[in-house]
């Protein structure tokens, strides 16, 4: 997410908002944002409602056996339609901002044609 913060201006330039979601409580997210200097919001999905709707809930995947979200990225266009999805096979491999920016630009070029 640090890498997304570094490229945030590129997302801003495309009108795409970056939002992170985890099962952490609100105060943890507030401290995490301050500590890391993240200017995008972090939403608290304490009960895993959003994770369930997106089928990215990792039951008992947390350090103390709690339900967490598996790493996953969804690009949603302004009409609310999913335009790009990344469901990683490994928790240590995530999408890079460059991957997502390419997907955004590719989608825009396709729409123009």
């Amino acid at each position: 997410m640090r890498s997304f913060q570094k490229r945030l201006s590129d997302f801003d330039a495309r009108g795409v908002r970056v939002v992170a979601i985890s099962n952490d409580p609100v105060d943890v997210n507030r401290d995490h944002r301050q500590q890391m200097g993240f200017s995008f919001p972090i939403l608290s999905d304490k009960k895993g409602e959003a994770a369930r709707r997106y089928d990215v809930l990792h039951a008992a995947g947390g350090p103390a056996g709690e339900d967490i979200a598996r790493p996953a990225e969804f690009l949603v266009d302004s009409a609310g339609t999913v335009r790009w999805v990344n469901l990683t096979k490994s928790a240590v491999v995530r999408a890079t901002p460059e991957d997502v920016l390419r997907a955004i630009d590719h989608g825009r070029d396709a729409a123009r044609k």
Binding site: G15, V18, A20, P71, D77, T81, V100, I104, G107
Partner: protein, 149 residues
């Protein structure tokens, strides 16, 4: 004749330890060294090679080199450490749910309303509200992550 210190064994062990402790705080921070942990694997390879060299000297020339006791101990510890690392990265980290029912490209993104860092509720619809310019593609990137441990 005084037997000389077998530095290779210790240097090899230290390289393996460096490979183990550096992943999370250093190399996992950069996609280039995290997605495939090549720096750590190189550290392990160099460390194990030095250990092997040190062991060979200790056993072939016990009259000149020390390390016939500490060498095998540090080697076993190193191999266990490398095995633990590889198990974590190449097995445990891949034990993720299949997410077969996740929304696919072209489908409607499921709505949600969740509190942000200030406790203010944010809905997907709010995030999709028109951006500044119609020329921009607009939209939202949702990043689900495992949380801040």
């Amino acid at each position: 004749m005084k037997r000389s210190w077998n530095w290779r064994i210790w240097a090899g062990f230290l390289l393996v330890v460096a490979g183990l402790v550096s992943f999370v705080p250093v190399f996992a921070q950069f996609p280039a060294t995290r997605d495939f942990p090549w720096v750590n694997l190189l550290l392990f390879a160099a460390g194990l090679a030095l250990l092997g060299l040190g062991l060979a000297k200790a056993y072939r020339h016990p009259e000149r080199y020390r390390g016939r006791v500490i060498g095998p101990i540090l080697s076993v510890l190193s191999l266990a450490g490398v095995a633990f690392f590889c198990f974590g990265i190449f097995y445990v980290a891949r034990q993720l749910p299949a997410s077969a029912a996740a929304p696919q490209v072209g489908q409607k993104a499921p709505d949600f309303t969740l509190p942000d860092g200030d406790g203010k509720p944010v809905a997907l619809a709010d995030l999709l509200a028109p951006s500044t310019s119609a020329a921009k593609p607009g939209g939202v990137l949702l990043i689900f992550y495992r949380g801040h441990w």
